[in-house]
Symmetry: C2
Subunit: 124 residues, 2 copies
């Protein structure tokens, strides 16, 4: 994935943090990612630079800069995110391995589009 050497530094730059949300909202078809789920509302895919043996990202397509920007109107999206987690936990056998669902905020959040990490530290 040579392209990721370019994509990641850009995504973390000032400009990148503004472009990435727009890409998810309008050009997600063009993202060079290994898709696990795609619906009208969200995308789930393997992290291109995984930090854990299992490292999946779940990203809403609608522009939502952070956890703090979620509102009551996003109830259906929240339900769909959790349904996606359910189906990924089953597919990837995470109930046996163990898993964490993580959302980072403030300076811990690297890209200004809400995203959830579904991870497992357990290989087998």
């Amino acid at each position: 994935m040579q392209i990721m050497r370019i994509v990641f530094p850009v995504a973390r730059s000032w400009l990148g943090t503004r472009i990435v949300p727009w890409v998810f909202a309008h050009m997600s078809f063009a993202l060079p990612i290994s898709r696990l789920r795609e619906t009208e509302r969200l995308l789930a895919f393997y992290h291109p630079r995984p930090v854990y043996p299992v490292h999946v990202l779940i990203v809403p397509k609608k522009t939502i800069p952070s956890l703090m920007a979620l509102s009551r109107n996003d109830a259906d999206l929240l339900v769909e995110i959790y349904e996606t987690v359910h189906s990924l936990v089953a597919e990837l056998a995470l109930e046996e391995k163990g898993y964490r669902l993580i959302a980072n905020g403030g300076p811990y959040q690297e890209v200004a589009q809400l995203h959830f990490h579904l991870i497992s530290e357990t290989k087998e």
Copy 2:
């Protein structure tokens, strides 16, 4: 908090993982915890044995054994959990410090009642 020396080993035992959800549903008033929020649906409180400089637990009162047991009917609860996160992030100045919202599952989950950790690794 002497009582926590007893409460924690019990909570993690086979019996404890069955009793804790019942206590949250029916006897939360008796929990020896430092409450941050309490509504009809949930409790938020400082972790009695914090692993991070900021370590808050958000726990639904309704018995929900894990993330996998959430359903479409819990949409209002999900919204309320995220609204609670918003207000705690503001109150504890976590937008400046950085924060993570974490839900553990499978063997990573120590007590059989759904709970979210709202944590910051940053002291000041």
